[in-house]
Amino acid sequence: MDKKMTVALAGNPNAGKTTLFNNLTGAHQHVGNWPGVTVEKKEGNLNHKGYSITVVDLPGVYSLTAYSPDEVIAMDFIVEEKPDVVVDIVDASNLERNLYLAVQILEMGVPVIIALNMMDQAESKKHLIDIPTLSHLIGAPVVPMTANRNEGTEELLAEIVKVAKGEVETRELRIEYGREVEEEIAKLEQIISPTSLALKYPPRWLAVKLLEGDKEIIGKLKEVDVE
């Protein structure tokens, strides 16, 4: 019996998410709707090295705030369903813009793999990316790939299995928000930590979200019982 695991596929629109999803799952796809909204939800399955992997394609978004239903769905899935691995697909030829989403996912403290897609375009634009340093500095594996040519899919799968087995350490990314903001984060963290919320969400992440005035998170907070 294969071990089950869930992989969420996140990324900006046009970063090649659909192509990668097809490369991974082939014909084994199932299309439905996300509960309560008319946003298409695609899931697919594959078996790899003793794992039965469910790949969930999250809506393409630029960030994880509560501005659009797409963003809410993507964030909700990561926070509530806690997939075993989040693969964030990043357009290597447009790193700066794409990393904004990556940073937000990394801050959530979930296991993340960065799929550095469109390496061919980055190369043709003469962008040189120091992948080992990038991986080291953000604390997550980075797999270069060109999904259009189905290059890098095997390497990504190998990395997914490694993360699932706990062979790769991923860490929560800590961004230094500056002294004043850090002081406020620390204050909120202190109030959050002793409550039952801390069991469900990383306190620092929650504090940052609250300071951002994230309506979704504030709405959730109003619904749950806090002890």
Partner: protein, 444 residues
């Protein structure tokens, strides 16, 4: 704790940040993330130059330039001190005259001992410290502007390369910059450094960063002995502090706390226009500590010094026969090789352990004069030369962190070992540095 508390605290935090920066905290957080990304990309991405360059990129091209970055940082710090002195000199003169007049009024109060307590002790001692409110607040205004506009993050970025050489990281430079205000928050700011050895090293070198409390000593002596180059001399103190800190970081990382250093991305947040309320809030947060200390610790110490100067009964005030003279005379020989082996200097340094402003306050009480002529008194009554004054300044810069800093080190390291080590090694370094300056300077 319930969720209403959390939501209330959130609103309070957002309002506080809006008051300081004039921006929604949402924007601040997004800016910091972009700052992280642009710092990250400087390390990992090389691409051919493009034509679309933002103003911020253009400024950064110069400010964080490989060669120009450090000279620019030094020029800016020098400008900060010139600004501080030029603007504060007339204000200090005014306060000084005020205390001079006050001292004359209260000296006639009877009985005699009360007049002496008021005039020599409180007005002389406390007055000589209060006089330094203008330069301290002006320095804090300048530092707040640099911090709020985004320059300090660049300074840390520029220092990153130097810090790497000594086995630390540019992020360690931020607590050091905070230490310019006061070492206590500087030491606490080390919490953001995750690697324990990096963190401990950054904590241990923080007291070398010249805090606001040392400024009165420098201004007093620079004003009296280096009239032409005040700004330069005080600037050199800050520089010596940074250099000693960096050398000691190397020593710690190499021999005492060896091991690989943690890696961080240096954030380069966008430049932003500082708001008046933000700058004033920061100035007040830092300057407040100075006023509170003046009203509590320094006030108490000044009275203690007056008492020790007046006892035993019947001796001449603050003479070598007084109790304070006896304590001072006992300690003075230690400072002989440094050039300031007089009991007055020894006792000032001894009590300066409580808070460094006390060094000036003690002298003010002993010489029973206010700041305006205190510098002159050191030259005429103790026979100090500019060389001795400089050695004394360096000693004050480097020796024992004040009690509050040691307390912070104790709290942050959760052990008594590190504050004790800090106390001993900083004093040893101060003694060696002052002795070297005095002895070599005497030969020249």
């Amino acid at each position: 704790m319930n969720k209403e508390d959390i939501l209330r605290a959130t609103d309070a935090s957002i309002a506080h940040l809006k008051n300081i920066y004039g921006d929604e905290s949402e924007t601040l957080i997004a800016d910091a993330r972009y700052g992280f990304i642009s710092g990250l990309l400087k390390d990992v991405l090389k691409k051919p130059p493009v034509d679309r360059v933002t103003v911020s990129d253009k400024i950064d091209k110069v400010i964080v330039n490989r060669w120009a970055g450090i000279p620019i940082f030094m020029a800016i710090m020098y400008g900060v001190f010139q600004f501080t002195f030029t603007l504060s000199a007339p204000l200090m003169g005014l306060i000084d005259r005020g205390f001079g007049w006050l001292g004359g009024q209260v000296a006639t109060v009877s009985p005699n001992w009360l007049g002496s307590l008021l005039a020599d002790g409180i007005v002389g001692g406390l007055g000589s410290v209060i006089t330094f409110v203008p330069p301290i607040f002006l320095l804090f205004i300048a530092l707040s502007v640099l911090e709020d506009c985004g320059y300090m993050a660049r300074a840390a970025f520029v220092m990153d390369r130097v810090m790497h050489k000594v086995g630390l990281h540019g992020r360690s430079f931020i607590p050091m910059i905070i230490g310019f205000g006061c070492n206590v928050p500087g030491i606490m700011a080390c919490r953001t450094i995750e690697n324990p050895k990096d963190r401990l090293t950054t904590i241990m070198i923080n007291p070398f960063m010249s805090c606001g409390a040392r400024l009165p000593i420098f201004i007093l002596l620079a004003g009296a002995f280096f009239t032409q180059n005040q700004g330069l001399v005080v600037f050199s103190m800050y520089l010596i502090g940074i250099i000693v800190a960096i050398i000691m970081a190397l020593v710690f990382r190499k021999w005492i706390l060896p091991g690989p250093s943690g890696h961080f991305v240096m954030e380069l947040p966008p430049y932003r226009r500082p708001t008046v309320s933000g700058v004033l809030t920061h100035m007040w947060e830092r300057g407040r500590l100075f006023l509170i200390k003046a009203g509590t610790v320094i006030f108490g110490v000044v009275i203690l010094i007056w008492l020790l100067s007046s006892m035993p009964w019947g001796i001449e005030y603050a003479s070598a026969e007084s109790w304070i003279g006896q304590i001072g005379s006992f300690l003075a020989p230690i400072f002989g090789p440094c050039g300031f082996g007089q009991w007055q200097a020894a006792v000032s340094l001894f009590f300066g352990f409580l808070a460094k402003e006390v060094v000036v306050g003690t002298m003010g009480t002993i010489f029973a004069v206010d700041e305006g002529i205190l510098g002159g008194a050191l030259a005429t009554q103790l026979g100090w030369t500019p060389l001795v004054a400089y050695a004394f300044m360096v000693f004050c810069l480097l020796y024992v962190p004040c009690v509050a800093s040691l307390g912070a080190i104790r709290g942050e390291t959760n052990s008594w070992k590190w504050p004790v080590i800090s106390l001993l090694y900083t004093t040893a370094i101060a003694w060696i540095a002052a002795t070297l300056i005095y002895q070599i300077g005497s030969l020249l």
